[in-house]
């Protein structure tokens, strides 16, 4: 088995970790225990990323399941040129972007209604740097996180994907470029524009 994994590493140029390579190899051979391990390893991250992109629990669960089924069902096509992680995220993000395209809802509703006065004041103070507010305390508030999700929904899907992968999933620029199959320069410009737009949306919401 070790020999096989080493061979796999040689073939793929080392883009895949040994643990992951062995799991992927066993999963490809039909080992359901390995499949389950792969699912357990990535399910929360995939679900969280999709949820932040589509903003709906039920849709996120369905899309995440679809992503795993598609990824594991298509393991024979996985050549190991990228890591299983970026390959799985590519499938998940593409499924979500297609879903968003088909179900795009244009919301004209103001975000002001999404948040109570106290949270609104705290978020405003934080964003405008008027008072020292703990960001983790602020983000833990259900209303504030709900408002951020709504603000994310207002971004263009491509910008949203980049912002979520970077700021929520903490992916590197290289991994984002690989996942979305775009140039690194495009990643940089989309991140800059996406964050700027998001900042403006949030600041407008708390005014």
């Amino acid at each position: 088995m070790v020999k096989h994994i080493q061979e796999q590493l040689r073939v793929t140029g080392g883009n895949i970790s040994i643990d992951e390579a062995s799991l992927v190899s066993q999963a490809r051979a039909g080992n359901m225990a390995s499949v389950e391990k792969l699912i357990l390893k990535y399910q929360d991250r995939i679900y969280n990323t999709i949820l932040k992109m589509c903003g709906n629990d039920a849709d996120a669960a369905e899309l995440a399941q679809d992503a795993f089924v598609k990824a594991i069902g298509g393991l024979k096509d996985f050549k190991g040129e990228s890591s299983f992680y970026t390959w799985l995220f590519r499938i998940a993000v593409n499924l979500t972007l297609n879903f968003c395209k088909k179900n795009s809802r244009v919301s004209f509703q103001s975000l002001n209604d999404e948040i109570d006065e106290d949270s609104n004041r705290q978020l405003k103070d934080y964003l405008l740097d008027k008072k020292a507010v703990d960001p983790s305390e602020l983000a833990a508030k259900k209303e504030v996180s709900g408002l951020i999700l709504k603000a994310l929904e207002k971004l263009e899907p491509q910008q949203r994907a980049v912002v979520v992968l970077r700021d929520i999933e903490q992916m590197s620029y290289n991994d984002i470029a690989e996942t979305l199959e775009i140039e690194i320069g495009t990643v940089k410009s989309r991140i800059a524009r996406g964050r700027k737009n998001l900042r403006e949306i949030l600041e407008a919401a708390v005014q």
Partner: protein, 340 residues
């Protein structure tokens, strides 16, 4: 504007730790020296911290089991051949194809039904023939309901010699009257009485004329001719045109009387009809209308002069019966009432 975008990109990359050492130092210097860049950096930092503080959502319970179940089901279906992606695709294409074919067939059937309901039979036959590229058989004696629509092509069709026994009768009766309304009413009544109202294929009403076109049997025509005899006193001028075997050629009998009309209608076959029409045309041409009226008034009192009576059979000898053309629908009559 471009510079500002570049600065923003650099600041974002700096915050994300994506710059090499040299560029990082440049950005650091920019932040230290440019208050605007510093403000933007702080704002971006705050934003990044806020986003990074958002609690990650965990996948719902039983998520991995659901995925495993779906995968197992997929594998099972692929093994048993119940479902295969390509087979499914073929099935889908086949279903779409069958659906499209069914829709086309349904549309065709509906079109035929609508065509059958709304398009008259004569036009229908013509359309079908032209659609199939068939040359229409020359319609020798059946004229179109309204001759205005006649094309030059029709006239150019060479006409074969007639099979007299089967040549149907085509006639055009034109009645000139001072009381068109009353005459029209009488014609309508005559058609009703003879049950021919339903067989009237076209009625063309204009301000000064009414035209009826009907197809019927010879017997019905005789009945109609008898009914129409009441109209003659209302007419100032009458003309009967009898169609010949040549398309568009008619024998015109001017100043025709009701009795003459009836006799022509009674004619057993084509030859007899044409002979009678020729005789009547000649007689009526040489005689002044008033003399003719008087003449026929006298003749009506006695018997028919113009038409020789049929020989009476005195024994059981068999005579060759002329083939009758009195089958249903072999008379095409156009009655035109013109008001003066």
């Amino acid at each position: 504007m471009k510079d500002m975008e570049l600065v923003e990109e650099l600041l974002n990359s700096y915050i994300d730790g994506e710059l090499d050492e040299r560029k990082s130092n440049e950005v650091k210097r920019l932040i230290d020296n440019d208050p605007k860049a510093r403000r933007l950096f702080n704002s971006l930092n705050r934003y990044k911290k806020l986003m990074g503080s958002m609690l990650p959502a965990a996948a719902p319970e039983g998520f991995s089991e659901s995925v495993s179940r779906r995968l197992e089901r997929q594998a099972l279906l692929a093994d048993t051949g119940v479902y295969h992606h390509k087979a499914g695709l073929r099935h889908l294409i086949l279903r779409r194809f069958v659906t499209a074919a069914a829709v086309i067939v349904l549309m065709a059937v509906l079109s035929i039904i609508v065509f059958d309901i709304f398009v008259p039979k004569s036009s229908r036959d013509k359309l079908v023939s032209s659609a199939l590229g068939r040359k229409q058989k020359p319609q020798v004696l059946y004229e179109k309901p309204f001759p205005d629509a006649k094309t030059a092509q029709d006239e150019a069709v060479p006409v074969p010699l007639p099979k007299t026994a089967t040549v149907p009768m085509v006639a055009k009766l034109t009645l000139f009257t001072d009381s068109p309304v009353e005459t029209d009413w009488l014609i309508g009544k005559a058609l009703m009485n003879t049950g021919l109202f339903d067989k009237t294929t076209a009625v063309d009403r204009k301000t000064d004329s009414v035209r009826y076109v009907l197809n019927c049997s010879r017997d019905s025509l005789v009945n109609l001719a008898q009914e129409l005899s009441f109209i003659w006193p209302k007419c100032t001028d009458t003309t009967l045109e009898i169609g010949t075997e040549q398309t568009g050629k008619y024998i015109t009998v001017k100043n025709i009387t009701a009795q003459q009309t009836l006799e022509i209608c009674k004619a057993d076959n084509y030859n007899q009809r044409i002979r009678m029409a020729n005789d009547m045309a000649m007689i009526n041409n040489v005689m002044a209308p008033d003399i003719l009226q008087k003449y026929f008034a006298q003749q009506n009192a006695d018997s028919d002069l113009l038409v020789p009576e049929k020989p009476v059979l005195t024994s059981t000898e068999k005579t060759e019966q002329p083939k009758s053309d009195s089958t249903s629908g072999n008379v095409n009559l156009t009655i035109t009432v013109i008001g003066r």
